[in-house]
């Protein structure tokens, strides 16, 4: 299996992080997840990201689309492979690893 270099974006520094965070209303986990991810993005991704926060309750039809099971769920659509991170994003190290920042 060969993966094209462009797809992986190894050498580009200014790669754009496309992120989507699914939360369930204002549950404690959701609130924590939103604040955690915002902080992480600000600290580590500078302005190089596009974060969309989706309240599943508001957009039910999107629930099937992204195979929602556990919430909160952060889907990293780009760069590189799609990664899915569940939880309230309190484990910063794991979040960064999941995003491929390290």
């Amino acid at each position: 299996m060969t993966i094209a270099a462009t797809e992986l974006n190894w050498d580009e520094d200014d790669q754009l992080y496309v992120l989507r965070l699914y939360v369930a209303g204002t549950s404690p986990n959701s609130v924590r997840a939103v604040s955690n991810i915002k902080r992480i993005c600000k600290n580590h991704l500078k302005d190089n990201y596009d974060l969309e926060i989706v309240d599943v309750y508001q957009q039910l039809e999107k629930a099937g689309e992204d195979q929602l099971i556990a919430l909160p769920l952060l889907v990293k659509k780009a760069p590189g492979q799609v990664r899915r991170l569940v939880g309230d994003m309190s484990d910063e190290e794991k979040v960064l690893k999941g995003l491929g920042v390290y």
């Binding site: 699914y22 369930a24 549950s27 986990n29 924590r32 997840a33 955690n36 599943v56 309750y57 039910l60 039809e61 629930a63 099937g64 195979q67 929602l68 099971i69 556990a70 919430l71 909160p72 769920l73 952060l74 799609v82 990664r83 899915r84 991170l85 569940v86 939880g87 309230d88 994003m89 309190s90 484990d91 794991k94 979040v95 690893k97 999941g98």
Partner: protein, 583 residues
């Protein structure tokens, strides 16, 4: 008032049930699964969990007008549709009609990074959305344990599953949750802790290389249910469970008779044949004509317009049809007429329970009045004796409840009558015919007798049983001074007897003729004697007349003489002397 209230309360408390539509399952659960509650279906790999739950959903949508949601954790919607299409379920159509929603839940651990506390709200939302969009009454989660493969935080999962089952109950949907059993437990992750209303265990066992599927209701809170292990079958029509009814002896007894197809045998059974709805065992050693007897019975039933189902465990239907043609039976006609149906299978094809389920199913479908099982002995090859016996007990029980007359044939391996128990079912059957070899004078002949026949006067005679071009017949065995004679010895004896009779007749004839001749001779003698007597009599009469005449003449002469002596003159004195001289 208070009385009324309590009455109402009691009515409310009775558990409502949701019929599954799976044949047999509703019977053993007393109406179906608990309505509005989750049911756990567990079992090993390949034991039919997914099929059972699919059938529950599809039957609900198609037959009971209860839309359903199928949440598949293992298969995609397309895979699922393909898998059950062979069973005649059209999932696509049901989905289009909004009576079914399939939601495929995909979890892959390598794509997921856990970064802190989470819950399964996403699953709840999806499920809720699916249920509300079609107004579902039934839900299947197959197999929810896959969550444990995708997510690692067991504590969260357990808490969330508990919440899920509780939520399902609140939602008021009848749910089936499937789970894999393992480690000696019902489910690998202990889901039975959460689903406490109804637990069904499926099992797929291999004994002696023969597989049998079984089902057991481990628990069913608030309801009476069958506790046995029930065999079940998966075939082209889906799943069917065989309800092994408790062996109650409350069946109806018909006094209607059903002819055996062999006139002389009817005669041995009080002149009318078997009772309708009874069970008949025909046993005998190899080649004694058991199948022929069974075929006659089937043939007669069809001739009388009764439907007959013939289970052949030894020969193929074509073989039976050909063989029976040789003794004058036209089975092809009955098959075309829809009265006769053959079902042939090798006993080793599957386990006893499976045979039983198949037999049940076919009987339910064909609704025969007469069933023939030929032979039951071969079933021994797939089970131990006690299993075969229990299977046959259940079969006889079922057939008698349905009022079906059944004939079994059995191969007896030993020829000592006293020892024969024939799979131990002889005590269960109502009528037992035994066909035996009678060996003498260097030939083998068949003898038939009735060992028992409940509730009727029956013959105690051994009959010789002959197979002719026109079918079977029974002949009285010859009981002569040399003992019992059969076969050619009997024929010879009969010929001798016939010869004796002819000779005797001839002798009697000869004597009769002799008597006739004697009579003629004697009669002739009588005639001649009579004529002799007549001539003698005539002679005597003649002398007598002459004497009389002489007397008269001499008297006259004397008178004349007297007159003359007195000197009187007669009127004609000259005449008299003339007369005298003339004499």
């Amino acid at each position: 008032m208070s009385k009324k209230e309590t009455k109402n309360n009691i009515q409310h408390r009775v558990l409502e049930k949701t019929p599954t539509g799976i044949s047999g399952l509703d019977e053993i659960t007393g109406g179906g699964l608990p309505k509005g509650r989750p049911t756990l279906v567990c079992g090993g790999a390949g034991c039919g969990k997914t099929l059972l739950s699919t059938e529950f959903i599809v039957k609900g949508a198609a037959e009971f007008n209860e839309p359903g949601v199928f949440m598949a954790f293992e298969e995609t919607a397309d895979e699922l549709a393909t898998n059950v299409a062979s069973l005649g379920f059209d999932l696509q159509k049901l989905q289009k009609e909004n009576r079914l929603r399939i939601d495929h839940v995909q979890i892959e651990r390598n794509q997921i990074e856990e970064t802190g506390a989470y819950d399964l709200e996403g699953l709840f939302i999806r499920l809720n959305y699916a249920i509300d969009s079609i107004g579902a009454k039934r839900v299947v989660l197959d197999t929810i344990e896959n969550l444990f493969a995708g997510l690692t935080n067991i504590a969260i999962l357990r808490a969330e599953l508990r919440r899920l089952f509780h939520w399902l109950k609140e939602k008021g949907v009848t749910a089936i949750i499937t789970a894999e059993s393992g480690d000696g437990k019902l489910t690998r992750h202990g889901l039975e802790e959460y689903v406490s209303d109804c637990v069904i265990l499926l099992d797929h066992r291999i004994i002696d290389q023969v597989s049998t599927r079984r089902m057991r209701i481990v628990k069913y809170r608030g309801s009476i249910h069958g506790t046995n292990e029930y065999p079940f079958l998966i075939d082209e029509n889906g799943l069917s469970v065989l309800p092994v009814t408790s062996l109650n002896l409350e069946k109806n007894a018909s006094s209607e008779r059903i002819p055996t197809g062999i006139k002389a045998l009817d005669g041995m059974l009080g002149g009318k044949g078997f009772y309708k709805g009874s069970s008949i065992l025909v046993s005998g050693t190899a080649g004694t004509g058991k199948t022929s007897i069974a075929a006659h019975f089937a043939n007669q039933a069809c001739n009388d317009g009764r439907r007959c189902l013939y289970f052949a465990f030894e020969e193929s239907p074509r073989q039976i049809i050909r063989n029976m043609k040789s003794i004058g039976m036209q089975f092809g006609r009955h098959i075309d007429g829809g009265l006769l149906k053959f079902y042939a299978s090798r006993p080793t094809l599957y386990g006893l329970e499976m045979h039983l389920v198949t037999i049940h199913k076919l009987i339910r479908e064909f609704k025969p009045e007469v069933v023939v099982l030929d032979p039951i002995t071969n079933l021994i090859t797939v089970g131990v004796l006690s299993d075969v016996k229990s299977m046959l007990i259940r079969l006889i029980d079922f057939l008698q409840n349905e009022g079906i007359t059944v004939m079994f044939t059995a191969l007896a391996l030993n020829t000592v009558v006293g020892d024969q128990t024939d799979e131990g079912i002889s005590s269960l059957v109502d009528t037992w015919l035994l066909v035996r070899d009678i060996e003498s004078n260097g030939e083998r002949n068949r003898g038939l007798y009735i060992i028992k026949s409940r509730g009727m006067k029956h013959s105690n005679q051994v009959r010789e049983f002959v197979i002719t071009d026109n079918g079977l017949d029974l002949v009285d065995v010859y009981l002569g001074p040399q003992g019992i004679l059969t076969g050619s010895a009997r024929e010879a004896q009969q010929i001798t007897e016939r010869t004796g009779v002819a000779l005797h007749d001839y002798e009697v004839d000869a004597k009769d003729r002799e008597i006739g001749r004697r009579r003629k001779v004697l009669e002739a003698k009588v005639l001649s004697l009579q004529s002799e007597f007549e001539s003698a009599e005539e002679e005597l009469n003649k002398i007598y007349l002459q004497e009389e005449l002489k007397k008269q003449v001499s008297e006259k002469a004397r008178q004349e003489m007297l007159r003359l002596r007195r000197g009187e003159r007669g009127e004609e004195p000259t005449v008299e002397p003339k007369k005298k001289s003339n004499e």
